[in-house]
Amino acid sequence: MSIKLRIEQRVEDVPKWLPIATSVGSVVVAFILGGIIFKIVGGKPLQALSFFYQAVFGSWAVFSDTMVKATPLILIGIACALAFKMRLWNIGAEGQFYAGAFGASMVVLVPLIPEDSPKVIVIGMMLLMGMLFGGIWGFIPGYLRAKYKVNEIITTLMLNYIIINWNNFWIFDQWSDRGFQMTATFDRVAWLPRLADYAKEIPAFSGVTLHLGVVFGLVAAVIVWWIFRFSRWGYEIKLIGDNPTAARYAGINISRNIILVMAFSGALAGLAGMAEISGVVHRLQESISPGYGFTGIIVAWLAKLNPFAIIPVSVLFAGLIVAGRELQPAGLSFLLQGIILFMLISSDVLLRYKIRLVRTGEESA
């Protein structure tokens, strides 16, 4: 009599704790595997882990830095979750982020509005232009997918390369600040308010770089959660994602929804780009993103497309980005992200199947 692993299809409902457990488990296993690889290439994994903790949560100042990095991830994670819910593979959030940064910069650099406009108008205009340009960059693949059935994975990815070169042209040429590969610093009127700006009234805020963008992220989470939970549109999105045939029979206009969702998803990623240049960089320059657009994909997936879960997951990944700046070799955070995503989708098998230990003698009986 021997003991055998048997895999059976789940018939009953998945227990509530299991999806959370698989997410957490994936991260833990990924860290262990990443640590082993790190060890092999000659690093000190445990030291790196304590360094990671210090660099991310060590003090209020570094935690604020982590939150600043989490801001674009929250917005992009939500943008991705929105599209993924409909099984639309928007992997062009990186490009939509750059497009949003470009649109917002236009407000200041063209300039689109009189230079002595009040702060509310400038920021409001940058917000609109950021969302508009990000939205256009999402609309294009959405339109091509809806009208010509063009695979949106590849178009969104190609559009990433296109917008980065487009931005570079403006940074290197038209908007170059005295030949440097960046634009001039924006006037303070175009800066998103930061907690540090209120240090005079509340001394504890001194040096805290957290900016208004994080509020955009929280508001977006509430809005998208509301859309999924209560609106007819959210219901349509979920139905198309789960069962496109049923959605078609139900008379839902799928083409229109593809275009809308892609444009809205792009607008959210564009907003992230606007928040980043208005809240952090304060000018347009090269490489304003350490791959936020791609990390956002994993964030969305790890949070099981739940807008609120995206917030803590973003903080974790922001920590990876912050720590990854210092950690050598540089690809380590990419590697960790890859392993996490792999572990996560592999562990999904546990949601569909049960693994049981059975005695083979029992089976024949």
């Binding site: 290439v41 063009v150 190609m158 960790l336 992200q337």
Partner: protein, 320 residues
């Protein structure tokens, strides 16, 4: 600008896309969508470069690159075949994983100069006017292998029994299973084949076409262009070859356009202001989108091309 040089260099750079695309054609024909080509290529480029540096043997580098791409692809195979996970997400994570592995293991390779693959001439054929110097002179052996792999893979897919089985598991896995063809086995096999060819394509870049290790810039999105090419080619190796070579020529043309001061009788704007070259760098990506639009319309019109079971996990005992 010299047409012969553009053709010569286009054939060479296009071969990279050719190998990656034909590999993906095999994988997709078996019903598995592997979007991780970029990651497998980058890992192959790193593995080939690093091995050649360590052993002084570029050919050993090629072999290791092939194995690296193949082994990495098996991770995608396991997750999408046995675990029946979403193949899009699995492919994306393979891209992350391959890129991360390549960057971590390739740390310190930048600026190194390992022995590279040599170029050869093909006797007799090189004497053909125009075509000879462009197609049969000063190319690596792998470029010549590309001339052979195109018709051979077409014949394999369409005219042989194993090719029939390959198409069967990609079109009607349940029927193939009934006839005793191992659906899982063949899907693993062709996922592996696709990974091997992607790894080979990567090694071609780093050891021959544009030698060197420039971290993620080494492949610069060519893996994704290869996937687009598969759709454009409608899963046909000949069309993939044509598309790959055209793309290669385009890349060369872009480089050449920046050189001359006068172009078609007017002052070349690219010569006056090199910043306009950003628009040239965009063109391959723009053209990929345009090619995809035409490819997708053709597929929609003919209602054929895409393997019916592409991206759908096969579960024994389920209808469909």
């Amino acid at each position: 600008m010299n047409l012969e040089i553009i053709l010569h260099s286009g054939i060479a750079t296009g071969s990279v896309l050719l190998f990656a695309a034909i590999g993906e054609i095999f994988t997709e024909r078996s019903g598995i969508l592997n979007l991780g080509v970029e990651g497998m290529m980058l890992l192959g480029a790193m593995a080939g470069f690093g091995t050649s540096l360590a052993t002084n043997s570029p050919w050993l580098g090629v072999v290791v690159a092939i194995m690296a791409g193949g082994i990495l692809s098996l991770a995608h195979g396991l997750v999408s075949i046995h675990f029946q996970a979403d193949q899009v997400v699995s492919g994306l994570s393979l891209t992350f994983l391959g890129t991360g592995l390549a960057l971590v293991l390739g740390e310190g390779l930048t600026g190194q100069t390992p022995p590279l693959l040599l170029d050869y001439n093909i006797p007799l054929l090189e004497l053909i006017p125009f075509v000879g110097p462009a197609l049969f002179q000063d190319h690596g052996l792998l470029v010549y292998a590309g001339y052979l792999i195109t018709p051979l893979s077409w014949l394999y897919i369409h005219k042989t029994r194993p090719g029939l089985h390959l198409r069967a598991v990609g079109e009607k896995p349940a029927a193939a299973d009934t006839l005793g063809v191992s659906v899982y086995g063949l899907r693993y096999l062709y996922t592996f084949v696709g990974g091997c060819l992607a790894g080979l394509a990567g090694a071609m870049i780093s050891l021959s076409i544009s030698p060197g290790w420039y971290s993620s810039q080494t492949t610069s999105g060519q893996g994704w262009i290869a996937i687009a090419l598969v759709i454009f080619a409608q899963w046909n190796p000949f069309r993939a070859a044509l598309g790959g070579y055209l793309f290669g020529m385009l890349r060369r043309l872009i480089l050449d356009l920046q050189g001359p001061r006068m172009l078609f009788g007017i002052v070349n704007p690219l010569y006056v202001n090199s910043n306009y070259s950003f628009f040239l760098i965009m063109t391959p990506y723009v053209l990929t989108i345009i090619a995809l639009i035409f490819g997708s319309r053709a597929i929609a019109r003919k209602r054929a091309g895409s393997p019916s079971a592409l991206g759908i996990p096969y579960i024994r005992g389920e209808r469909g």
